[in-house]
Amino acid sequence: MSESTSTTARETQIRAEVRAWLEDNWDPNLSLHEWRNRLIDSGWGCASWPEQWYGKGLSVGLGAVVDDEIRQFGAVSVAKAGVRMLAAATILEHGSDLHKEKFLRPLLTGEDTWCQLFSEPGSGSDLAGLTTRADFDGEHWVINGQKVWTTSAHHAQYGMLLARTNWDVPKHQGMTYFLIEMEQPGVEVRPLKQMNGHASFNEIFFTDAKIAPEFMVSTEGNGWKVAMTTLAHERRLADGIRSWARGEKGSGRVFDELRAEIATVMEPYKWYPQRAGRVDLLLERAKATGRINDPVVRQAIAEVLIKAKAAEWTGRRVKAAHALGRPPGPEGSLGKLAGSQVARLAAHAHTLIAGGEAMLAGDDGAMNGLISEILVSVPAESIAGGTDEIQRNIISERSLGMPKEARTDIDRPFRDVPRNTVS
């Protein structure tokens, strides 16, 4: 049985409706915002959203069918990718009507950019150990602390902020979720340079930054639960970005503006393919350099190919099982761990192929510095989005049902939990 779900009558009908609407309404010469507003108003832009909020209340599966039809038609979709979709998903599930009214449309048109303010220098793997504080001064929430690993914060209008509002309850119960305006005096955004020379992330310093009470999401102390919604969607983010970046080939005003938007959003991610090891280049490089003739190099390449193909096929098994409604079996953490191993093996193989050239970078380096960028980017693959060690914990506890690590930090007031004093 093939992995694609079989076509249903309902799907065929929906595709026809979308196509009919597009035939009547699609105009590549509109401005990007004009077109998106039209699409949003039609309900096809986010068909799986509720009807009162720009959608048609379709299932997630049928929503994907609508998106696919728009893509196949060659039209531009709403700004349905990147960090802003984490905000949208969170606001839809936990936000007030005010939040939905104020934030959803400009987010879908692409006018508003968002960033996520969860990680801190002192709380990486242990996100719930965060110490950025929010204190209510009778009028506003006052924010003090530091966040890090924030993509695109330098041009974001809004941030999803997780901050501690109560220090006298266990760590998971003292956090509250806010929507914060980034362009205000108390918020300082500094680019964070990485070892590969890029600065895709920012550090954010809060010094008496302010949030009006109505921009709290859900209730005080309920921030962890809300954040889980954001994080659940984050895992799909990378895929989303990749597929979204495709639709950039058309001509017309709407496409010109789309390409500019994509360029901005994709900027921090441009080294991500190198971070993953660029398996695609190995055979080509080995042949070009003649290193393919070294049997030891062939072994190194084979190890990468085996792991990369096995990981790819495992991913397709997961999807196929999902499509059949079977228990998911191997899950996300496995793919993450495999990806980290592939990246490391690939960097090793690239090193062997490059030989002495691996000592050079930039213009002087192999493939104009692309190879050296791989070598100094892959270390991030086993860290970003949860270290390999955290993935192994998740796999052993969730997939294999092994006993959980005894915790000493979750059953007492956060105030009393040992934590990092500096950074």
């Binding site: 049985m1 190919l305 085996i306 193909k309 761990l337 192994r392 092994m402």
Partner: protein, 375 residues
């Protein structure tokens, strides 16, 4: 190519029936009994497996007396047998049937396959001569043609179940030829050769040395056709062995997990220590990856995919290395107990070690993978 990434409900039900049969008829107590005998199988179980479940004929078309299922179902059987370290001449029969299907003439298929399909006749494939070389091209056994037919001279080794097979499919070359040219397959009656059971590391896999001394033989298929058919037969053999190996690897993971949950040290199950947890997590990843390669490769055989040669080598290298690793780690997690004869881990460890080098070691297949890759 619409490749298969999941099994149908019917296939899953079939797998379950094979697994139950194995659990019922081939617990390790039985395996231990059988591996200590020279024959290495229980005729009653063999009959039941062949005639009631039809496993010996699983991938043989119905017109030749088989079940008419595909290579995917065959690989599912191999996987379940691997899980049970099943001790029987099954793989040898598969090798022989595959060789006949690939190389035989229509009338030879009709004549030879029904007895293999119903398990009434045991057969095997004899190709290997120098243990370190699995390539057909280095064959030295000769097949000389005279008025009365062919006569074979030479010897074969590491012939799986070669000591009990009624029918041997033998690779030999015409005198004066070399390399891939001049190779043909022959059928030889098992009782017409001098053969000797070898002392095998994995006692559940019986191996024989066979000597041909002017042994009468019948040509299987075309004269000098084996240069084309053998690589394809060996690819299928590699995929079947990969499938067996992922079955064994999964069993080792299951066994490690079960022991880690049960075994208490320092007042807690050893499975609560991060060192053991992470070892098991890594193992789950390895096993899942290996399964994906074996399943993909089985589908590549079934669909006659162009990339089969590369994919077969990929699956063989990955699955057999994973099996070895899984057996090692399972043994390590068991500690001293795992090193005892009484514990079952060593049965799998030895099967894994033997499978690692059988049909070419992982280095050989990794090299083949790169050389065969088309990207």
């Amino acid at each position: 190519m619409p490749m298969q990434f999941s099994f149908t409900d019917e296939q899953e039900a079939f797998r379950l029936s094979v697994r139950r049969f194995m659990e019922d008829k081939s617990p390790t107590t039985e395996v231990r009994k059988l591996m200590a005998t020279p024959e290495g199988y229980d005729p009653a179980v063999w009959r039941q497996m062949s005639q009631e479940l039809g496993l010996t004929g699983i991938h043989i078309p119905e017109r030749y007396g088989g079940q008419g299922f595909g290579f995917i179902e065959l690989c599912m059987v191999m996987e379940e047998m691997g899980r049970a370290v099943f001790c029987a001449p099954y793989f040898s029969n598969v090798l022989a049937a595959t060789a006949i299907l690939e190389a035989g003439t229509e009338s030879q298929k009709q004549a030879l396959l029904p007895a293999l399909a119903d398990g009434s006749r045991l057969a095997t494939l004899a190709t290997t001569e120098a243990p370190a070389n699995w390539s057909a091209e280095t064959t030295e056994t000769t097949a000389e043609q005279n008025d009365s037919g062919f006569r074979l001279n030479g010897s074969k080794t590491l012939v799986v179940d070669g000591h009990t097979a009624d029918l041997l499919i033998v690779l030999a070359r015409s005198p004066g030829t070399s390399g891939a040219y001049g190779l043909s397959l022959f059928t030889v009656a098992g009782d017409s050769v001098s053969r000797r059971l070898l002392n095998s590391l994995d006692e559940t896999r019986k191996l024989a040395q066979i000597e041909f001394d002017n042994t009468p033989a019948e040509l299987l298929g075309e004269l000098h056709g084996a240069g084309i058919t053998m690589p394809r037969i060996l690819d299928q053999a590699a995929v079947a062995l990969a499938s067996e190996s992922v079955g064994g690897a999964q069993k080792m993971l299951d066994s490690a997990l079960e022991y880690a949950q049960m075994r208490m040290q320092f007042g807690r199950p050893i499975g609560s220590f991060q060192a053991i947890k992470h070892k098991c997590a890594d193992l789950l990843l390895e096993v899942e990856l290996a399964k994906s390669t074996a399943y993909y490769a089985a589908a590549a055989v079934a669909e006659n995919a162009q990339d089969l040669p590369a994919v077969a080598s990929l699956a063989k290298a990955c699955s057999c290395d994973t099996y070895m690793k899984a057996a090692q780690e399972c043994l390590q997690i068991h500690g001293g107990i795992g090193f005892t004869w009484e514990n079952d881990t060593h049965l799998y460890f030895k099967r894994a070690k033997s499978s690692q080098v059988f049909l070419g070691d992982p280095n050989y297949h990794r090299d083949q993978l790169v050389l065969r890759w088309e990207a």
